[in-house]
């Protein structure tokens, strides 16, 4: 697997560098890595650094609950923005649940937070590292700051819950920094998306395929995140408390952040995204994808009320169902037509259970 010596890699790099103009897949994988993937991972890591600092500051009484919540919401939005980019270290290490545990059908977050603090009132970082993924991430942090049964503006409650809040912040900071480090450097994930062949990909097209798979998988995930509270899998009966991030009412803003990243993969930072791989004779498909993105984005932006309110009346549910259908069209276009047009097999783990 790791036979390639650094020298060989360097030579390969030189050779590839020499043959301009670049092959389109190579151009795209380079552009997306530098223009979309790396910046998103950096921003996420920075948001988690601020989250860890905020937990300390809030618990020391130097920040109020409102500020702490705001910083949490930023970290959560950065994580949502990362969803279409879950390839490489984060996906392979089975680490995503450490960042956010969802779906949480049985309210494990509340149950495990309370039982952990009962067992370890003087919780340490090491205690958290050994604990369940359920209490390590944003879902537990959200529970602490937003659940109606808690009030961390109250000093006595802060004393009880702050060790956990601080430990989660620190855990997220450490985890995200480690992931970013695995993206950077000569043998990092980013380099492997830019220079070929390497131990991961034989050629640029494989890297583009992997990026597309991650995006399509995330688009499918968006349907699930909207469909679950909407009751698409539960006889049409809305399940607002099964929504992702329901406590902080960020389900829809999370969707918007993820969708925006998917569209960035499509367009690229400088019109150098996946779209640029389609030939002139595939322009019609490109336009339909442009429209599909625009439709989903527009519908999402037009939702003026929070999710639980929309779920409560028919007009709201109609709007959400229309958004679901729009996301479904977008997903199908990618899965069926775009993948085919690019000659990419989505195959295994494409999460398409239909």
């Amino acid at each position: 697997m790791f036979r390639s010596t650094p020298l060989l890699l360097a030579l390969t790099g030189l050779l590839l560098g020499a043959c301009t103009p670049k092959e389109p897949n190579l151009q795209t994988s380079n552009a997306l890595t530098d223009g979309v993937l790396l910046p998103a991972y950096s921003t996420w890591t920075e948001a988690d650094r601020q989250l860890a600092a905020s937990a300390l500051s809030f618990c020391a009484g130097n920040e109020d609950l409102q500020q702490a919540r705001q910083i949490f919401l930023t970290a959560q939005a950065r994580w949502a923005a990362l969803q279409p980019l879950l390839l490489g270290p984060l996906a392979e290490g089975n680490l995503t649940w450490q960042v956010q545990f969802w779906p949480d059908k049985k309210n494990l977050v509340a149950r495990q937070v309370e039982s952990l603090l009962q067992q370890k009132p003087e919780l340490t970082q090491a205690d958290l590292d050994q604990a369940s993924v359920v209490v390590k991430g944003l879902s537990a942090y959200e529970y602490l700051l937003f659940d109606k049964s808690l009030d961390l503006a109250d000093a006595a409650q802060r004393q009880r819950y702050c060790p956990l809040l601080i430990a989660i912040g620190k855990h997220q900071q450490t985890l995200s920094a480690e992931i970013l480090q695995q993206w950077q450097g000569e043998a990092g994930m980013a380099a492997q998306l830019k220079k070929f062949p390497n131990s991961r990909y034989a050629e640029a097209k494989e890297a583009v395929a992997e990026i597309l798979r991650a995006e399509v998988s995330a688009l499918d995930g968006l349907k699930k995140k909207l469909g679950t509270p909407l009751g698409r899998q539960s006889k049409g009966v809305p399940q607002p408390l099964q929504a992702e991030s329901w406590r902080s009412q960020s389900t829809l803003s999370n969707l918007a952040a993820s969708l925006a990243t998917a569209e960035r993969l499509w367009l690229g930072g400088k019109q150098d995204g996946i779209r640029s791989l389609l030939d002139a004779d595939q322009a019609e498909l490109a336009q339909r994808l442009d429209q599909a993105f625009g439709d989903s984005r527009g519908q999402l932006a037009a939702l003026q009320r929070p999710l639980d309110e929309l779920l409560a009346d028919k007009a709201g549910r109609d709007q959400l169902n229309a958004l679901y259908d729009s996301l479904d069209r977008l997903h199908r276009l990618h899965e069926r037509e775009l993948a085919k047009a690019l000659g990419i097999q989505l195959g295994f783990n494409a999460h398409d259970g239909d």
């Binding site: 604990a131 993924v133 009966v237 259970g353």
Partner: protein, 441 residues
């Protein structure tokens, strides 16, 4: 990703590609079609015949497995009748033993679920899980349920009318039909009123030990009529247990009927009418989906990673190790064309394994080796339980060695799924996409 050598594709593969089961075929199989033009038609027919024999035997396996599930459910029914006739520790113990015995064939039947809609659309009434048991009967005060489930504490045993959100539901008479109508009440999939797990809860009660040793401890006196009745409402609890058990038996009878040979309008007839490739795809898809998304993912990875006994398959009885082992056995059965019946005899016949071996002996050998490895890893969970450490203890946050056992079983199942995909490709079935249930490994 290992690549499929075109040369390795056998004439059989070509035949299957030509037969074509749906429009899902991708470039790999359309490439394989090209040389078919020169293939002797007789050979192609012979291979289609061989593949059809494999599908027919698959239906025989299903018939035998569901038949055993039915006979062991009838034995459970008798044991439940005996418990109700004379509720004491011995009859309760016997009913629990009968439930555990009934799980052996049923768990081997689950490989038929994925890919066969007739099974998939039917199985929820029998094996839905995890459930909010407070829908059924009394629960401890620290009981946790699905968020927003209005039926989570309805307690059908204690109430002849239950309040679910705004709605009142009449449950005065407890029949199989009434209970079945309460499944997924108010849209919540945690509302499970029927099936193996409802019966399991009625026989064992809640397991209040978390990740510590011990299963549910329901006393037999919960079924005593009149004086001595514990838990309250014993008459209704008795009626519930009886109705749920009878429903299980009649549901299984119905499924056995779907797999009987020479019945013009049952599921088996429609399966056998279609091109063999359609059946082979279902077999492989079922194996892969149970192996990956369901067993490795929903049933092992979720409870392991979340240290969640709530997500344990047979959580009231602590029988999860067996549930997992026999799920694995079912996957193996379908590939090898074998099933060890409850009467001890071995049913065997034309197998997927032999078809794959003819196309690529190496692919067959790899998958067999993987099946052996996963069985050994699942056996390790059974052995651990025999030594007193059950699945719910293995997944405890502070049990590193226990977690490792579960992790190894998951890894073996994931690896095996890769080989299932390879085997499928050798038979010309590309893009198998086993259901991953949204898990990545």
């Amino acid at each position: 990703m290992p690549r499929t050598s075109l040369a390795a594709a056998s004439l059989l593969a070509v035949a299957i590609s030509l037969a074509g089961c749906d429009d899902k075929k991708e470039s790999a199989s359309s490439q394989a079609v090209a040389p078919a033009a020169t293939a002797p038609a007789a050979t192609a027919q012979a291979d289609e015949a061989a593949a059809k024999a494999v599908v027919r035997h698959y239906a025989d396996l299903a018939l035998a497995v569901f038949g055993d599930a039915l006979s062991s459910a009838k034995a459970l029914q008798q044991a439940v009748d005996a418990l109700l006739a004379k509720p004491d520790a011995d009859t309760l113990q016997a009913a629990r033993a009968a439930w555990i015995a009934a799980r052996v064939p049923y768990m081997q039947s689950e490989v038929f679920r994925f890919g066969n809609p007739v099974v998939d659309e039917w199985e929820g009434q029998l094996n839905a899980w995890p459930l909010d048991e407070g829908l059924i009967d009394y629960v401890a005060t620290d009981y946790q349920h699905a968020l927003g489930n209005p039926g989570a504490s309805a307690n059908i045993v204690a109430n002849s009318e239950i309040q679910v959100g705004e709605e009142k539901v009449d449950v005065a008479s407890i029949t199989g039909e009434t209970l079945a109508s309460l499944n997924e009440l108010a849209g919540s999939e945690a509302n499970v009123a029927t099936g193996y797990h409802a019966i399991e809860f009625l026989l064992w009660g809640q397991d209040l030990n978390g990740t510590a040793p011990g299963a549910g401890q329901r006393p037999a006196s919960d079924y005593v009529v009149g004086e001595g009745c514990s838990g309250g409402h014993c008459e209704r609890r008795r009626a519930y247990l009886k109705a749920a058990t009878d429903l299980l038996v009649s549901d299984l009878e119905q499924m056995v009927g779907q797999w009987q040979p020479q019945v013009a309008d049952n599921y088996r007839a429609s399966l056998e009418r279609k091109p063999a490739a359609n059946g082979l795809r279902k077999m492989l898809f079922g194996m892969g989906s149970l192996s990956l998304g369901e067993l490795a993912g929903e049933r092992m990875k979720v409870p392991l990673e979340a240290n969640s006994t709530e997500d344990e398959q047979d959580c009231f009885s602590d029988n999860t190790h067996n549930a997992h082992f026999y799920n694995g056995k079912g996957i193996r059965n379908v590939y090898l064309g074998e099933y060890r019946k409850l009467d001890g005899s071995l049913l065997s016949g034309p197998s997927l394994s032999s078809l794959v071996a003819r196309a690529d002996a190496q692919a067959d050998a790899s998958l067999k080796a993987d099946l052996d490895a996963s069985e050994a890893r699942l056996q390790a969970l059974v052995d651990s339980a025999a030594k007193g450490q059950h699945f719910d203890q293995l997944i405890a946050a502070d049990n590193a060695a226990g977690q490792q056992l579960v992790r190894e079983a998951i890894a073996a199942l994931v690896k095996q799924t890769g080989s299932i995909e390879q085997a499928a490709a050798r038979l010309g079935i590309g893009d198998l996409s086993p259901d991953s249930a949204d898990h990545s490994f």
